[in-house]
C-alpha cells in the first residue's frame, strides 16, 4: 500500500491541527494515524471545500466508530471526483446508488446491519446541497421521520457544481449561477427563496442537528463526534466553499468559509431534539461586503455601479441571523426554547 506523508502547518490563531494543544485537545486531522478515509489522489479542484469537509467529517466519524463505518454517497462532485473506476479514494466501504436516494440507501444499509446483528458498524450518508435540499429531500425527510440510524452529512456549496454551477434550493439570494445569471435589474438568484435545511431537519425532532464550516476544524470534528455518540437520524450541514462555482481564489476557501460565519450569513449552531443548544459566536463581526466582494458570483453587486441596495438586503439577512441565533456573544439569543423563533 502506498502512503502519503501528512503535512502540518500553523495558520495563526485558527491553526488547522493545533499541535501545541494537549493530546486530548488535538484534532483528528492532527493525528498521523488518522484513517485518511478520503485518500489523496482524488480529482477535486484545487481548493475544493467539499473534499476538505468530507475528509474532516469522515475521518472524525471513523475515529468515533473505531473504524466501523459504511458510507453512502449521492451523485455529485464528491462521488465523481473520488471514484473514477478503477480508482477510488475511499478507504472505507462506500456505496453510490443515485442522486436522490442516498438517505434511503443508507436506511437500507442500517437495516441490514441491524438485522445482521452488526451493531458496532455505523452508517453515514453524504450528499451535496442539491442531493440534500432538492432531489434527495423526499428520501431525507422520510429517513428523518422514521428516525433511522443514519448520520446524514450535507456538504453545502450552494449550487449544482458538478453539472456546471446551476441554482439549487440552497443557492443564496443575488448569487450568480448558470441558471440565475447576473442579468437584469434583479441579477442573480432571487430573494425570498431557498430552503433552510437545518431548521427543516430540526422540525422533524431528530436527536441531533448541527451546522459547521470547513474553517473551524475543531468545531466540525466535535459535532461529528457528538453526532456519532447518539443513535437515530442525525443531520450535519457543512458549508464548503467552491472556488469554481463561487469565483473565489483556491487559496481563499477557508477564508471564505470563515467570513460566511463571521458575517452571520451562515449561523453555526447545534440542536438537540429539535432545540438549539449552542451557537458558535462571531469572533470578529464583519460586514457582508468582505464576504461578497471576494467571490465572482457576487461581482455584479460591485464595480462601477455598486448595488448597495442588494448588499444592504444581504446585510439584513446576516443581521437577522445574528439576532435569531444570538451569534454575538454579548447579545442574548432571540431563540425560543422550543426551537428557533423567527
Amino acid at each position: 500500500m502506498t502512503t502519503q506523508p501528512i503535512h502540518f502547518y500553523q495558520v495563526g490563531s485558527f491553526a488547522v491541527g493545533n499541535r501545541l494543544l494537549d493530546d486530548d485537545g488535538r484534532t483528528v486531522q492532527s493525528d498521523p494515524n488518522r484513517t485518511n478515509s478520503l485518500d489523496s489522489g482524488h480529482r477535486a479542484c484545487q481548493g475544493c471545500g467539499e473534499a476538505l469537509g468530507a475528509r474532516y467529517a469522515i475521518d472524525a466519524a471513523m475515529r468515533a466508530s473505531q473504524g466501523r463505518l459504511v458510507a453512502v454517497n449521492a451523485t455529485g462532485c464528491l462521488e465523481v471526483f473520488s471514484t473514477p473506476y478503477p480508482e477510488t479514494s475511499w478507504r472505507i466501504p462506500w456505496l453510490h446508488s443515485l442522486f436522490g436516494n442516498a438517505p434511503a440507501v443508507a436506511t437500507g444499509v442500517a437495516a441490514a446491519l441491524k438485522v445482521k446483528g452488526k451493531s458496532d458498524v455505523r452508517v453515514v450518508a453524504q450528499a451535496g446541497d442539491g442531493g440534500t435540499v432538492d432531489i434527495g429531500f423526499g428520501c431525507l425527510s422520510g429517513m428523518f421521520e422514521r428516525n433511522d440510524d443514519v448520520l446524514f452529512i450535507c456538504y453545502d456549496n450552494e449550487a449544482y457544481m458538478n453539472t456546471g454551477v446551476q441554482r439549487s434550493g440552497a443557492t443564496p439570494p443575488a448569487a450568480r449561477t448558470a441558471t440565475t445569471e447576473a442579468i437584469g435589474s434583479e441579477a442573480g438568484n432571487a430573494f425570498g427563496q431557498g430552503k433552510d435545511l437545518p431548521r427543516i431537519a430540526m422540525a422533524h425532532d431528530i436527536p441531533y442537528v448541527a451546522t459547521a464550516t470547513v474553517a473551524d476544524l475543531h468545531d466540525l470534528e466535535d459535532k461529528v463526534e457528538r453526532a456519532m455518540q447518539v443513535h437515530g437520524a442525525r443531520y450535519l450541514h457543512i458549508l464548503v466553499p467552491c472556488p469554481l462555482g463561487w469565483g473565489s481564489a483556491s487559496s481563499d476557501t477557508i477564508r471564505v468559509a470563515r467570513l460566511a460565519k463571521e458575517t452571520g450569513l451562515f449561523p453555526v449552531f447545534e440542536a438537540v431534539d429539535g432545540k438549539v443548544t449552542g451557537v458558535s459566536p462571531i469572533r470578529h463581526r464583519t460586514p457582508v461586503e468582505e464576504y461578497l466582494s471576494i467571490q465572482g458570483r457576487y461581482a455584479h453587486l460591485f464595480g462601477e455601479h455598486p448595488r448597495t441596495d442588494i448588499i444592504a438586503r444581504i446585510q439584513a439577512m446576516a443581521d437577522r441571523n445574528i439576532t435569531t441565533y444570538g451569534l454575538l456573544a454579548e447579545e442574548p439569543a432571540d431563540i425560543d426554547p422550543k426551537g428557533v423563533d423567527v
Binding site: V72, I92, W94, A104, V105, A106, G108, A112
Partner: protein, 417 residues
C-alpha cells in the same frame, strides 16, 4: 399444505418462508395485501429476524432495498403500476449494481387516465432495466416463483421481478399448496453476496464507468441474463423434485404438438385462452398455446422451437407500444423470424377490460380462416371512439377524452357481460 387462500396472502407467506431480512412497504393497489401480511408476520415475530420498513415512496422502497442488499441482507419489496414508474431509476440501478433483490409486481395499468386495474403496461415499461421478469399464470405459480426467484437472483446476482396480474391473481381466493419451512430452507441456501459493504474489507460500489468499459459492463449483464436461460429450467426441475409439483420454467406449452395455430401470452389470461383453445379444438381447429413464463431473459430458442410447426401465431397482449403495436409480439417475431409463420397481435384487457373466452374464441376462429387483422384491439368500441374523434375534429376545446367517453357510455358496469 393445501390452503384456500388469497393470492397476495399466498405470496406473502411464501416470501416469509424465504426469510427476507429487509422488507420495504409502500402502499399501492393491488399489491398492498402482500406487504400488509408480511408486516403482520414481522410484528408477531413469525418472520424474524426481519426489518420491516414503512417508507415514504416507491423510490425509497427500492433504494432501501438497494442499501440492504449491498450490505448483505436478503431484500424484498412489492409494487405496481405508478409505483414501479416512480422507482424506475432505482430499478435500473439495482440491476446495474447486480443486487439480487426480489420484487413482486402486481401488474396494473399506467395512467393517465388513472386506472387501478390489471394490464401489463407496468412490466413492459421496465422490460429493458436488466431485471429478470417471471410471469405467473396462477396463484400457485405466483407463490412458487418467489422461492425460485430468490435462489435465481442470488445465484446470478441479478434482481428478479415476479409479475402477477393485479386483482385477477392478487385478490383471487383459490387453492394453493404452500410449502413448509424445511422444504424452502432445503431449496434456498442463505444469501452469500458477491459484493458487500464490510468495514473489514472495504470496497467502493457504484462508481463511475466511462466509455472505455461501459459496453463490456452492459454486455456482461446480458450474458448473465443468458445464464438465467440455463438456470431457470434447471431450478424449475430442482423445484419439482423438492416440492413435488412443476412450477416455473421458461415457457409452458399446451396442446402445441400438432398445432398449426399457436397463441402466445403472459400471465393469468392463459387460463382463459386455454378454455378458448379447447373450444376451438372441439370445433376442429388445430390450436395450441405457448405461455411465456420468463419474459426477461426472453427464451428465443424455446419459443422458436415451440412455434416451429405453426402456420400462424397469435400473440395476445395486455399492453402495447403506442404508435406501433405489440411488445411481446416483437420478441416473438424475432424468435420466429425464420419459421415462416404469420404473426398477428391481439391487444386486450387494458385497464382491466374483461377478456372473455367468447371474444377470444371468435378471434381464434378468425385466425384459423386467416381473417384476423395483424393488430386487433379485442372488444374495442369503435362507435365510441369515432364519436370522440368527431368531437375532437369539430370542437377545439373538446375537453378530456376519458371524461367524454364515460359520459357517452353512461353506466360502465351495465356493459360488462
Amino acid at each position: 399444505m393445501l390452503r384456500q387462500i388469497e393470492g397476495s396472502r399466498a405470496v406473502a407467506e411464501t416470501v416469509a418462508l424465504c426469510r427476507p431480512e429487509v422488507v420495504c412497504a409502500y402502499p399501492i393497489s393491488p399489491q398492498t395485501h402482500i406487504i400488509e401480511a408480511i408486516g403482520v408476520m414481522v410484528a408477531s415475530g413469525a418472520l424474524a429476524p426481519c426489518e420491516f420498513i414503512n417508507v415514504e415512496s416507491e423510490f425509497a422502497a427500492m433504494s432501501v432495498s438497494i442499501g440492504a442488499s449491498a450490505a448483505g441482507a436478503r431484500a424484498y419489496t412489492a409494487t405496481a403500476s405508478q409505483g414501479l414508474l416512480f422507482m424506475i431509476e432505482a430499478v435500473y440501478n439495482a440491476a446495474g449494481l447486480g443486487l439480487p433483490i426480489v420484487m413482486t409486481l402486481a401488474n396494473r395499468a399506467i395512467g393517465a387516465p388513472i386506472n387501478i386495474w390489471n394490464d401489463h403496461s407496468d412490466a413492459m415499461a421496465v422490460r429493458d432495466a436488466g431485471w429478470i421478469q417471471l410471469f405467473a399464470e396462477t396463484n400457485q405459480e405466483a407463490a412458487d416463483l418467489h422461492v425460485l426467484a430468490f435462489r435465481l437472483a442470488e445465484e446470478l446476482s441479478l434482481p428478479v421481478m415476479v409479475c402477477m396480474d393485479g386483482f385477477i391473481l392478487t385478490h383471487a381466493v383459490e387453492r394453493v399448496d404452500l410449502p413448509d419451512q424445511a422444504q424452502v430452507d432445503a431449496y434456498l441456501p442463505p444469501y452469500e453476496p458477491r459484493q458487500v459493504l464490510e468495514p473489514d474489507d472495504p470496497v467502493s460500489i457504484g462508481a463511475m464507468v466511462g466509455p472505455e468499459a461501459f459496453e463490456e459492463v452492459r454486455y456482461l449483464a446480458h450474458l448473465r441474463q443468458l445464464d438465467a436461460l440455463e438456470r431457470i429450467p434447471a431450478l424449475a426441475t430442482a423445484f419439482e423434485e423438492a416440492f413435488g409439483r412443476p412450477s416455473g420454467g421458461l415457457v409452458s406449452p399446451y396442446r402445441t404438438e400438432d398445432a398449426d395455430i399457436v397463441i402466445v401470452a403472459l400471465g393469468s389470461v392463459l387460463g382463459t385462452i386455454k378454455d378458448a383453445v379447447d373450444a376451438r379444438r372441439d370445433a376442429g381447429d388445430r390450436v395450441g398455446v405457448l405461455g411465456i413464463t420468463a419474459f426477461r431473459p426472453f427464451p428465443n430458442d424455446a419459443v422458436r422451437e415451440a412455434l416451429s410447426g405453426a402456420r400462424s401465431v397469435v400473440v395476445v397482449e395486455k399492453a402495447f407500444s403506442i404508435g406501433f403495436g405489440g411488445v411481446l409480439s416483437t420478441d416473438v417475431a424475432m424468435a420466429s423470424h425464420d419459421t415462416g409463420c404469420t404473426l398477428r397481435t391481439i391487444v386486450c384487457g387494458l385497464g382491466g377490460r374483461p377478456i372473455t373466452s367468447r371474444s377470444l374464441e371468435q378471434a381464434f376462429a378468425a385466425a384459423a380462416l386467416d381473417e384476423l387483422d395483424s393488430l386487433t384491439f379485442l372488444d374495442l368500441d369503435h362507435e365510441i371512439v369515432e364519436r370522440e374523434r368527431t368531437r375532437m375534429t369539430t370542437t377545439r376545446r373538446s375537453g378530456p377524452s376519458a371524461e367524454n367517453i364515460l359520459r357517452d357510455l353512461g353506466t360502465v358496469a351495465s356493459r360488462i357481460d
